[in-house]
């Protein structure tokens, strides 16, 4: 009888990042049993979780300030000429919203990738590249909108509405560009398999916030108050 040699099953290393990159190790915050402690948190979340809310709070306050400036300027003067928004902006809106969708798809893939064995190739970065591309298309589209306004003779100082249009779109565009830099960082980390989930989550909050902020700005610029 032939002897059958069974190969031992191969244990695939999981794709989770190295321990040194998996967060801030908040396990230190466990309450020791011997002390009479009132601290109740089992572990502390990675600081980027709170950090991203700090960043979003600052951006919210800044755009709230611009909003109040716009409301005061529009309501208190007779020289406000409401401009017709360039139609490319509506396409840009769709592009940015699509980039948010692709980011969510990518987040799910990364979640599967991180917990799955190494044999399954999901190329989790693929949808992140799509997100980056859509983000870049959005910024380019905003530039096209500027060119369209310029061709109508509407410059930064032409009237208050155009002033706010350029200021708000420029600052939002800069934030999206900042997001693209962040996305490059995320992709690089993912390709080296050292991405923390919290980093991707925080980045996605930022990116979705940019989409929501843009819809808000579009409404603000479109509405006659």
């Amino acid at each position: 009888m032939a002897t059958t040699v069974h190969e031992p099953p191969k244990v695939e290393p999981r794709r989770s990042p190295q321990p040194g990159h998996s967060g801030n190790g908040g396990v230190r915050n466990l309450v020791p049993n011997d002390g009479n402690l009132r601290a109740v948190r089992d572990y502390s979340p990675p600081p980027s979780k709170a950090g991203i809310w700090v960043i979003l709070a600052a951006i919210t306050m800044s755009f709230a300030a611009f909003t109040s400036a716009l409301v005061v300027r529009q309501g208190g003067s007779s020289d406000w000429h409401h401009l017709t928004l360039p139609s490319v902006l509506y396409w840009n809106t769709l592009v940015l919203l699509a980039s948010s969708v692709s980011l969510e798809l990518s987040r799910r893939r990364v979640a599967v990738f991180m917990s799955g064995p190494r044999t399954v190739d999901l190329s989790p970065a693929r949808w992140l590249y799509v997100t980056a591309l859509l983000g870049a298309v959005f910024v380019a589209g905003q530039y096209v909108a500027w060119l369209q306004l310029r061709s109508q003779g509407l410059y930064l100082a032409t009237n208050p509405n155009s002033s706010f249009f350029y200021v708000l779109t420029a600052l939002h565009g800069l934030h999206v560009l900042g997001g693209l830099v962040g996305l490059t960082y995320v992709i690089r980390k993912l390709n080296r398999v050292v991405l923390r989930r919290s980093t991707l989550d925080s980045f996605s909050y930022y990116w979705h916030f940019m989409s929501i902020l843009w819809v808000y700005l579009l409404l603000l610029l479109w509405m006659k108050l």
């Binding site: 998996s22 908040g26 396990v27 002390g35 709230a64 400036a69 300027r73 100082a157």
Partner: protein, 594 residues
């Protein structure tokens, strides 16, 4: 569940190169010291500028030797022109408010001690923390640059009221390039402070060590946390305001300039802007800024007093809640700076009400201090003297606040020296006393050497008497109708006030000179002071459980565990009358006794 070794591994190791160690350092302690050094440079500039403007107020035609070096046209024959007076005054306020009162109590001490108080090895985002300092440093350099560009720095005051600030050089010397540089510098400064908040807030929320519940945080850390929340929401409003101001200058927009404005016989090419808009945006930042300057001082002073009284405050929690209430209310009161701006009088009432309300948490804080001090056998040293001085200044400045909170009285006192006295006592001198108290208290931990106590006490008494001599008479000047920002007193009714101004000037020179004792003590102690023990004041919080100065990762690789509230004094333990936060020893506290 995270891995045990993750935290230490994720953090940076000790730097080896000079640049990483001392210049572009990621270590929160080095960044704290860098902020302290920046604040020291700024306070010297600010103080010298105050001397110059005080000399001019006392003796309008006096030549100040070498003054022409500061300006091409501002000081012909070393005599200050009225415009140059305003430029120097603006720079005095700008350097003091932004680069001293914001930088030192919050950014310098906060950076050094907040991570130690929370039991963390470092800030959560050390690179952003490094950028925070260097961005602020760039802002400082840009602001200095305005002395050397065009016709000098802006003359619009630290509030930069539109429309004059938005028109360009037609509005006066420094109103062109000077304003653009000012607004650019402040916008950069805002970015630096936002980077700071990005580190402070997650550190307190997420990087606390084992056993460190929020209520176990020492009071300065609570104060820095509350302050960073204020900084986050107010600097992010000032920055858009600065951007719009710059655009009015360089791009010809009309955000802040109204139509048909004629300045120096020239019709301005702007239309439809709102001058009040700038004031609203500015003061929405400006009033919380007052508390950004003072709240860290409240935390530091409480910490110093508790350690020296050897007993906790009457109520730790009420003190924290009151500081939080100050922060929330500070956003609702900003309109009290604008009672005479032409704002609807009903708005004045709306802003007056929370302004009077804000006196409630302020009073509670003061009463907790006084109540805790009652019957305490306080150790008298330089730190505790300055802490007591802080309370004195805060009460004096606070009392004048009651008057200014009411529109009917404020309209009379608006823009007089009464206001100058009020805000100097509260946000400036009180905050400065907080800085001094913190310095004498924490110097041994920061630099590993003791400061000279005798010199510290002499410094205290000279400064204490000096600042009262400078700012007390200003109440009288204000009540007598002495208008601030006037560079000379040519109107009849103001003539008799000149003598008071001369007295104040002499007092200011004297008080300023007394600060040389502090600077000498600081530098001498840094190099020649007695080596400091780990816990020179028998304190209980975590900074006293580690060597002086602390090692690179603060706790020498130890995973610190906290077992107690921060201020366990008046107990009987193996160490004496106090129990360190990280001591596992259990003792009976007074509250537990039957």
């Amino acid at each position: 569940m995270h891995d045990m070794s993750a935290h230490a591994a994720a953090h940076h190791g000790p730097p080896t190169s000079f640049i990483r160690k001392h210049v572009f350092s990621l270590d929160h302690k080095v960044i704290g010291k860098q902020y302290y050094g920046l604040g020291l440079a700024a306070v010297i500039i600010g103080m010298v500028l105050s001397w110059l403007i005080r000399i001019h107020l006392g003796w309008t035609n006096a030549a100040i030797p070498g003054l022409h070096l500061l300006s091409k046209n501002g000081a012909p024959g070393d005599v200050m022109t009225p415009e140059f007076y305003l430029q120097l005054m603006t720079m005095h306020a700008t350097f003091m408010v932004f680069f001293v009162l914001t930088v030192v109590p919050f950014a310098a001490f906060g950076n050094f001690f907040l991570p130690i108080h929370t039991g963390a090895e470092d800030m959560p985002f050390p690179h952003f923390n490094m950028m925070s300092f260097w961005t602020t440093f760039v802002a400082f350099c840009v602001m200095l640059l305005s002395f050397f560009v065009g016709d000098g720095p802006t003359l619009g005051g630290w509030t930069q009221y539109a429309p004059l600030s938005a028109l360009g050089s037609v509005a006066g010397p420094g109103e062109g390039a000077g304003v653009v540089i000012w607004a650019t510098s402040i916008a950069i400064f805002c970015v630096g402070q936002l980077f700071g908040a990005l580190n402070f807030i997650p550190n307190v929320l997420d990087l606390r060590c084992k056993g460190m519940s929020l209520w176990r945080l020492p009071l300065p850390t609570w104060a820095w946390f509350i302050t960073s929340c204020m900084g986050l929401t107010s600097f992010s409003v000032l920055m858009p305001a600065c951007i719009l101001l710059i655009l009015d200058h360089v791009a010809g927009t009309s955000f802040f300039v109204a139509s048909n404005l004629v300045i120096n016989d020239q019709m301005q090419p702007h239309s439809g802007g709102s001058t009040l808009l700038w004031q609203h945006l500015f003061w929405f930042f400006g009033h919380p800024e007052v508390y950004i300057a003072i709240v860290p001082g409240m935390g530091i002073v409480s910490h110093v007093l508790i350690t020296n009284m050897r007993k906790p405050m009457l109520s730790h929690r009420v003190l924290v809640y009151s500081m939080g209430a100050l922060a929330v209310l500070s956003y609702m009161v900003y309109g009290h700076h604008m009672f005479v701006s032409g704002m609807n009088p009903f708005s004045s009432l709306l802003f007056s009400f929370p302004t009077l309300m804000i006196t409630i948490p302020s009073t509670i804080i003061v009463l907790i201090w006084l109540g805790s001090l009652y019957g305490a056998k306080i150790r008298i040293n330089a730190a505790s003297l300055f802490a007591l001085g802080f309370i004195s200044m805060f009460i004096t400045g606070g009392v004048s606040g009651f008057f200014l909170a009411q529109p009917s009285i404020q309209i009379l006192l608006h823009a007089t020296y009464f206001v100058v006295a009020h805000f100097h006592f509260t946000m400036a001198i009180a905050a400065l006393f907080g800085i001094f108290s913190g310095t004498y208290f924490w110097f041994p931990k920061m630099w590993g050497r003791m400061m000279n106590e005798t010199l510290g006490k002499v410094h205290f008494w000279l400064t204490f008497v000096g600042v009262y001599a400078v700012f007390m008479p200003m109440h009288y000047l204000g009540l007598a109708g002495g208008v601030r920002r006037y560079q000379a007193y040519v109107v009849d009714y103001m003539q008799p006030l000149i003598g008071v101004h001369q007295f104040i000037t002499i007092a200011a020179l004297f008080t300023g000179a007394a600060q040389l004792i502090f600077i000498y003590n600081l530098i001498h102690s840094r190099f020649r002071g007695e080596p400091a023990p780990d816990n020179p004041w028998q304190g209980t919080s975590l900074e006293w459980s580690i060597p002086s100065p602390p090692p690179h990762d603060n706790f020498g690789g130890k995973h610190v565990v906290v077992y107690h509230d921060p201020y366990q004094y008046g107990v009987q333990s193996s160490t004496g009358d106090y129990l360190m936060q990280d001591s596992p020893e259990q003792v009976k506290t007074e509250s537990e006794e039957p």
